[in-house]
Symmetry: C2
Subunit: 138 residues, 2 copies
DNA sequence: GTGATACTGGATATGTATATCCAGAATAGA
DNA sequence: TCTATTCTGGATATACATATCCAGTATCAC
C-alpha cells in the first residue's frame, strides 16, 4: 500500500471533521456545502460523511434545516475514531515482513525495535490527537 | 490508503531481499525457488524481482545457472532502495490534510509537529535500516 | 397532512494494485 | 552452433478504492 499517509476517503474524513470544528455554529452544515468548501466530489463525500455518522463521529439530520455536525466537542473526538472506519482491513499492525502475523519480540530481526517505534509513533499520534488539534489547518 | 504498513508488492520485495541476504552463496537463486520458499505467487514475484533488478537492488542472470542475487552486500542496501520503486506515486510526504502540498511550518495546525514526527520517523527508518538488518527475520 | 429538503443506500463506472499466463530474448553448457 | 534454461515483457483477469448517478426515506416548516 503505502508510505505514511492516508487514503483519499480517510483524508476527506479528516478534512471534513476539521472544517466542522473550525466553523462552529448552531446550524448543521449541508453535505454539498462541505463538498464545495473542501473541493471534494459531493457524491463521494456524502458516502464518507454517512460512514462517519454511522460510526458516531458525526450527527446527521435529514430534511429541511438538516445537515451534519460533530457528534461531540472536537476536543473529545480522537483522530483514531475518524480514521479507523476507513482503514479497517488495512490496519494490520503486524510485523514488517509479515503484516498478517502479530509481532513477537522473541526471535525478532535487528530492525524489529526501530520498526516497532515507527508503528507505535503512528498509533500514539492517532490516539492522542483530537479533531480540535487539526481545526486550524490552512 | 493506509496505516503504517506496506503494499503486497513492497512486502514481497522486502521478504525476497531479506531471504537472499540470509542465504548467501555463490549460486544465483531461481525466481521460482524464491517464490516457493516465501509462499508468494511465482508469476507475481517475478514482476517484483524484475523491478528490483531494474532499480539496481538485484542482479538478474538469465539462462542456465541463472537467477537472482543481491547487487551489493546487504549492509550496503538501504530499505529505501527496496521500497521506493513500489511506493513511487503514493510517496506523498506532504501535509496530513493536504498530501499533495509540501508541508509548511508557518500557519500550521497544532498537530503539525507531532504528525511531522511520525512522518520523519518513517523516513529515517527507511534511510537507516539495511537489508542486513532484516536478514534474520523469522 | 403536505411539500420541500437533505441524508441514505443501491447500482454503476473508472482506475490502480494484485495476480496469472505465455511468447520472446538472453545466457550457459555441450 | 544447438539446446535447455531462466529472466523479460505484453496481454489479460480479478479485487478493491474511488467516483457518479439516482430513487427512496426521514425530517422540518407551513
Amino acid at each position: 500500500m503505502c508510505t505514511v499517509n492516508f487514503s483519499a476517503s480517510t483524508t476527506h474524513a479528516l478534512r471534513a471533521t476539521a472544517w466542522l470544528a473550525a466553523h462552529p455554529g448552531e446550524d448543521a452544515v449541508l453535505g454539498r456545502d462541505l463538498a464545495r468548501k473542501l473541493k471534494i466530489p459531493p457524491d463521494y463525500l456524502s458516502k464518507v460523511l454517512a460512514t462517519l455518522a454511522r460510526n458516531g463521529v458525526l450527527r446527521a439530520v435529514r430534511g429541511a434545516k438538516g445537515g451534519y455536525r460533530l457528534a461531540r466537542a472536537p476536543e473529545r473526538i480522537k483522530l483514531a475514531e475518524v480514521v479507523t472506519p476507513f482503514e479497517g482491513k488495512r490496519a494490520r499492525t503486524g510485523c514488517l515482513l509479515h503484516p498478517d502475523r502479530p509481532c513477537r519480540d522473541s526471535g525478532a530481526c535487528s530492525a524489529h525495535a526501530s520498526w516497532g517505534g515507527v508503528s507505535q509513533a503512528y498509533r500514539d499520534f492517532l490516539d492522542r490527537t483530537t479533531v480540535a488539534d487539526i481545526r486550524d489547518h490552512p
